[in-house]
Symmetry: C2
Subunit: 204 residues, 2 copies
DNA sequence: GTCTATACATCGATAGAC
DNA sequence: GTCTATCGATGTATAGAC
């Protein structure tokens, strides 16, 4: 009985180690994928190059991901989880203008920190790929956490939420496209927040 | 003498016809390119498929364009010229809110009317391609015409212009990404314009 | 689990006949 | 100006040895 228990424990332990190694390798592959995408654009990601980057041959990648689409899917979900972390990091404020200004500034910083991630999450830059239902669900959850934050400062009308997403995404898009590496739009975050809050408050 | 004159005229006429045919074929190729991009995305454009679409073999395209990049370049410049036409079509208004609302709505409609054109002009969706200096100059001219329109209604500060481009591009981006074919953000154009004008007027 | 080898398609672009 | 033929490379994916 003792022997069987020991054996079972050992097998579980080995499986556990293997599972952890596997997950670690998957993470390593994804990080290399972000790095390559930064050079070639998110749509220019190549499996041969990706394999070379992590010291494998291309076919070995299929041990960890079913397809290239599965890699994009994992990147997409990871990107949204990172967005959640970034949004959670924003210190709450009683002042709505403060809260919105910090949120917009944080969002621009998030997008600027990793351009291919921005492309993957918020544009349709990858031909012939769309997030799987599972990956899409992660993005929906993220959106709902964002609307919860807005609700905290009394913003709940759909039009106001839509205006907020448009403003944020537009600020980020302009920053990345027309002043990459700079802060021309980022420094307008408070300006934009004042504009937005004044408008929301003026509702009938 | 008469003979020589006639011959010269005839040769000029032939050259003229050839030049016009050539330009016509170039236009036909570009239009087919927009059509294909609508199916595969702007980054998914293929020369073989494009050639098939216009009834040629792929190498024949090189008679009309030096490279695939040259095709993207021509599309980029043509797209900005179309944007100018769309903006010129906007009826001027003495009411700033009217003017801005119409401009935003028109811009969203322009982007929604041709998604690959939006991708090519306003995102970096094509890997390993950027507009040539000549094509980029066309976009700068277009931007300057836009700022001239804003100046007409008293908006001249760079921050206000930057806020306007962010708002417009964000509204269009959200419309295309999250409600393609609908009008969820387009119908917020007046709302956005009121927000923007109220803010600009509140400047110290 | 990783490798070599390879299948099979497609890509942009060029050479040279007609 | 258009064609056929082809180059060299890349793409994703699979088979089978070790």
């Amino acid at each position: 009985m003792i022997g069987r228990t020991v054996v079972a424990t050992t097998q579980a332990g080995v499986a556990d180690v293997r599972s952890r190694r596997r997950e670690q390798t998957r993470t390593e592959i994804l990080e290399a994928a972000w790095g390559l995408s930064a050079r070639r654009g998110i749509a220019g990601l190549s499996l041969r190059e990706l394999a070379r980057e992590v010291g494998m041959q291309a076919p070995s990648l299929y041990t960890y991901f079913d397809s290239k689409a599965a890699i994009y899917d994992a990147m997409f979900a990871a990107g949204y989880r990172q967005l959640d972390v970034a949004l959670a990091d924003i210190e709450p404020s009683d002042d709505p203008v403060d809260a919105i200004a910090t949120a917009i500034e944080g969002f621009i910083a998030f997008c600027a920190a990793n351009v291919p991630r921005y492309q993957l999450l918020f544009t349709r830059a990858v031909p012939d790929w769309a997030p799987s239902p599972a990956a899409y669900a992660v993005s929906v959850a993220s959106y709902e956490r964002m609307t919860a934050l807005l609700a905290d400062i009394g913003i709940e009308r759909q039009e106001d939420i839509d205006l907020m997403t448009a403003l944020s995404s537009g600020m980020a898009a302009q920053q990345l496209a027309n002043d990459p590496g700079g802060d021309r739009w980022q420094q307008l975050s408070r300006d934009a927040a004042e504009m937005y809050i004044a408008h929301v408050r003026s509702r009938p």
